[in-house]
C-alpha cells in the first residue's frame, strides 16, 4: 500500500523479501546497507534471535531522493524464513507493494523453496492480495555452490508462470535480463506470464542490486 503524503510531499513504498529459512534474505539487506550511499539509507533494524536467525523482521529504509517534488522512499523488509514463524511472516506482508522471493539454489533446499512459495501465495491471498497482479521478482541465491540446481529446474518448480486472462496483456514480452527468454508468452494456445528472475550470490553481492532495481522499478510504475 504505497502511501502518498501530499502534505510532506513523500511517497513510501514497502518491499518484502520472502523465502525459506537461511536462504539469504537478511544477507540481501545487509549488502544493500553496506553498499548504498550512507546518506541514502536509514538505520537497519534486525529483530533476530541470539543465533542471528530472523525472529520477526529486518527493516532497512532507502531514500531515492526527491523526484518531481516528491521524496521517494523504499522500505525494505525481510520475513523470518523458518516454518514455525508464519504468524509474524504474515504480519509483515500487510500493505506490501512489491515482493522479492529469495530462493535457495541448493538441491536439498528445493522442498523448502516450494513450501515457502506456497506459503507466500497463501498469506497474500489471506490479506486479499493477488501475487500475479503486484510487482513480484524471484531471486535464485547461492548460485556459486556446487550443489546448486540448474535454473531451468528452479524456474519449473518455483516460477512456472500463471495464465494471462486480460486480452490487452496477451502479447509477447521479452525478458530484457535474459536474451531469448520471455516474461509473457504463448504455450499450447494459452498466454502465460511469469515473474522476472535473477541469479545471485548475496554473500558477495552478485545479483543483489539487479534484483532490487527490478522490483523497485516495477513498484514505481504502479504509481503512474
Amino acid at each position: 500500500m504505497s502511501m502518498i503524503n501530499y502534505a510532506s510531499r513523500e511517497i513510501n513504498c514497502k518491499l518484502v523479501y520472502y523465502g525459506p529459512g537461511l536462504g539469504g534474505k537478511t544477507t540481501n539487506l545487509e549488502f544493500v546497507y553496506n553498499k548504498v550511499a550512507p546518506g541514502a539509507r536509514g538505520k537497519m533494524i534486525s529483530l533476530a534471535t541470539e543465533t542471528e536467525r530472523t525472529l520477526f523482521f529486518d527493516f532497512l529504509p532507502v531514500d531515492l531522493g526527491t523526484i518531481r517534488g516528491f521524496k521517494v522512499k523504499f522500505h525494505l523488509y525481510t520475513v523470518p524464513g523458518q516454518v514455525y514463524y508464519n504468524a509474524s511472516r504474515k504480519l509483515i506482508l500487510k500493505g506490501v507493494d512489491g515482493v522479492v522471493f529469495v530462493g535457495d539454489s541448493q538441491l536439498e533446499r528445493m522442498e523448502a523453496n516450494i513450501e515457502a512459495m506456497q506459503n507466500l501465495y497463501d498469506n497474500m491471498t489471506q490479506h486479499g492480495y493477488d501475487l500475479t497482479k503486484i510487482p513480484f521478482v524471484v531471486q535464485y541465491n547461492k548460485r556459486d555452490l556446487p550443489n546448486a540446481s540448474p535454473i531451468e529446474e528452479l524456474q519449473g518448480a518455483l516460477n512456472p508462470g500463471w495464465p494471462v486472462e486480460e486480452p490487452v496483456r496477451q502479447r509477447l514480452l521479452a525478458d530484457v535480463d535474459h536474451p531469448g527468454e520471455y516474461l509473457v508468452w504463448q504455450q499450447d494456445g494459452q498466454w502465460i506470464e511469469r515473474a522476472p528472475y535473477f541469479e545471485a550470490v548475496a554473500a558477495t553481492g552478485e545479483g543483489v542490486f539487479d534484483t532490487l532495481k527490478s522490483i523497485s522499478k516495477s513498484v514505481v510504475k504502479t504509481l503512474g
Binding site: M1, S2, M3, I4, N5, Y6, A7, S8, I11, N12, K14, V36, A37, A40, G42, K43, I45, L47, F56, F57, F59, P61, V62, L64, G65, I67, R68, F70, V72, K73, H75, Y77, A87, S88, L91, I92, K94, G95, V96, D97, H127, G128, Y129, D130, K133, I134, F209, L212, K213, S216, K217, V220, K221, T222, L223, G224
Partner: protein, 165 residues
C-alpha cells in the same frame, strides 16, 4: 482488490489532523503524538520533536500493534483497541484509528496515564472520522494517476543511479 491499494494524504488532511492532535496534546499534557499506518509508514508527527529515528520507530510500532492484534484474536478478542507501554520516565500509549492507522502518544511523568486515556477518547473519535473520509476517498480515486507525467522516467533514472546502472 488485486494488490494493496495506495492511499494519499493531502495538505488539508494534514491540517485537520494537526489541529486534532495539537488540541489533544495540550489537554493531556502529553509531549508528542505520531500517526503511523499499519504497513509501518509514518504519516504525521505533532508536538515536541522526537530524538530517535522516526522511520524505524514507525516500522516497529506497526509490528508491535499487529503482533498484539494477533494475540488478541488468540484470546478470542476481536482486537486490542489500545496498548500501553510503561517506562520509568517515558511511556507510550497506542490506539487504533479506523483499523488502518495507529495513534502513538508519548508522554512523561508530567502527566498521568489516566489523563491521557481520558483525553485520547475524543481525539480518537475525531481522527476516526478524518481517516474514514480519507480512505473512502482513496478507494474512489484508485484509478486516477497519482504523480505527474515524467515522474516515472525520472524515478527509473534515480533507481539506476542509486542501485548501479
Amino acid at each position: 482488490m488485486p494488490g494493496a491499494s495506495s492511499w494519499s494524504f493531502s495538505e488539508d488532511d494534514s491540517r485537520r489532523i494537526d489541529g486534532i492532535l495539537n488540541g489533544f496534546l495540550g489537554d493531556a499534557s502529553a509531549r508528542t503524538a505520531l500517526i503511523v499506518d499499519r504497513a509501518g509508514q509514518l504519516v504525521a508527527t505533532v508536538g515536541e520533536p522526537v530524538q530517535f529515528d522516526p522511520t524505524a520507530f514507525a516500522s516497529l510500532t506497526a509490528a508491535d500493534f499487529s503482533a498484539n492484534d494477533q494475540l488478541a484474536r488468540m484470546l478470542g478478542e476481536p482486537e486490542f483497541g489500545a496498548l500501553f507501554h510503561q517506562g520509568e520516565r517515558e511511556s507510550m500509549y497506542l490506539a487504533d484509528i479506523a483499523r488502518r492507522v495507529i495513534l502513538v502518544v508519548l508522554f512523561d511523568n508530567s502527566t498521568t496515564l489516566g489523563l491521557v486515556k481520558l483525553r485520547v477518547r475524543n481525539a480518537v473519535t475525531q481522527l476516526n472520522t478524518v481517516f474514514t473520509d480519507m480512505f473512502s476517498r482513496a478507494d474512489q480515486d484508485a484509478a486516477s494517476p497519482k504523480v505527474e507525467t515524467g515522474f516515472l522516467g525520472d524515478a527509473e533514472d534515480e533507481i539506476d543511479r542509486l542501485f548501479g546502472a
